[in-house]
């Protein structure tokens, strides 16, 4: 169980579902992704300019987006827990708690640097490529290289 071993430092992205899903079932995530990508483009969240306006405190827009997204998320998770809502497959909904590590500070600051330079977090990178900004493929490959480098050097970093 390598997953378990990595959970200490990286609990994100570990599938909480115990049911094996077929490739076909994955199509529903594709559809949610499409919906999400359209919102990214239409609200111009993937715009480099919007991110600069946010960090220059020149526009409320991104604070409104993130704030209202979190508000809806908090209410949704509260309702799911309160009423013990099950998944469509009838499973109990499980959310992995996040464990603290110094990585959230050091990694967080480094990601903040990258976010302000590229004007994109990982999600918008995919959408930006979709809009035809093909050079962002290089940014994405570099982000993959950065992730790989983290995996390679992980044990030597403070956590």
């Amino acid at each position: 169980m390598n997953n378990l071993e990595n959970k200490n430092t990286d609990s994100e992205g570990i599938n909480a579902s115990h049911k094996k899903e077929t490739g076909f079932a994955n199509l529903k995530y594709l559809i949610v992704g499409i919906f999400f990508g359209i919102v990214f483009v239409k609200a111009e969240i993937i715009s480099w300019f919007r991110i600069q306006e946010m960090f220059h405190l020149q526009s409320f827009f991104m604070y409104g987006v993130i704030g209202s997204a979190v508000a809806v998320g908090v209410i949704s998770v509260f309702i799911i827990k309160k009423f013990n809502i099950k998944t469509l497959q009838g499973e109990k909904i499980e959310i992995q708690p996040k464990t603290f590590s110094k990585g959230q500070i050091y990694g967080g600051l480094l990601f903040g640097f990258g976010w302000a330079i590229t004007g994109a977090c990982p999600g918008p990178l995919f959408a930006q490529i979709g809009t035809g900004a093909t050079v962002i493929i290089v940014t994405l490959l570099s982000a993959i290289a950065g992730t790989w480098f983290y995996g390679w050097i992980k044990d030597k970093l403070p956590h």
Partner: protein, 189 residues
């Protein structure tokens, strides 16, 4: 205005934000999935270049939903840009417009400024830093932090996780420092 014209206009934050927030319960309900995007980069490493590193030795196929999800985001980008696109320039505040003009960035026609991010600019020092170094920091930083804006700032905060609050605060501090203090030097290159 007909419906298509309304959709073509840039959407306001109070529409976009709640729609993004709804992704959290939708993913939980349709398959018990915690919203997070940066892990897709890890799965790509695990699938393509695991290199015998323990961090990449896990059953990535079990996490393949995440790769379908990000491929969907790419397709959403295509649809948003080619079928629902806003014919006008990106509206930016006059202050930012003036600041950027002093670095020669005057083209606001795309969401990604072509004067900074293009295949030609990749070969310049400024372009290399913005495209390659910036991307590397995004990939390295998110994984070191254990998540990005989606995994920590939205999913983590939705579940009231204090480590995610720390991560989110650090994302913002890093962004402010870069955008206000360091980026002006990079843009001047």
């Amino acid at each position: 205005m007909n419906l298509l014209e309304i959709i073509q206009e840039p959407w306001p934050w109070y529409i976009a934000g709640p729609l993004i927030g709804l992704t959290v319960p939708i993913l939980l309900i349709i398959g018990n999935k915690s919203f997070g995007i940066s892990s897709s980069l890890r799965h790509i490493c695990a699938a393509c270049i695991p290199s015998n590193i323990s961090f990449f030795k896990y059953d990535w196929k079990k996490e393949s939903w995440n790769l379908f999800f990000v491929f969907g985001i790419f397709l959403g980008g295509v649809i948003g840009a080619y079928f629902l696109s806003n014919p006008n320039n990106v509206q930016i505040t006059p202050e930012l417009s003036e600041q950027l003009a002093s670095y020669g960035i005057t083209d606001h026609s795309g969401l990604v400024p072509a004067q900074l991010f293009s295949w030609e600019s990749l070969l310049t020092l400024r372009g290399f830093i913005m495209i390659v170094v910036g991307g590397f920091l995004v990939g390295f930083g998110t994984r070191y932090a254990g998540g990005c804006t989606s995994g920590h700032a939205i999913m983590g905060l939705s579940n009231l996780q204090w480590p995610s609050l720390i991560a989110t605060i650090c994302f913002m501090i890093g962004g402010f420092v870069m955008s206000l203090l360091i980026l002006p030097y990079i843009l001047s290159l």
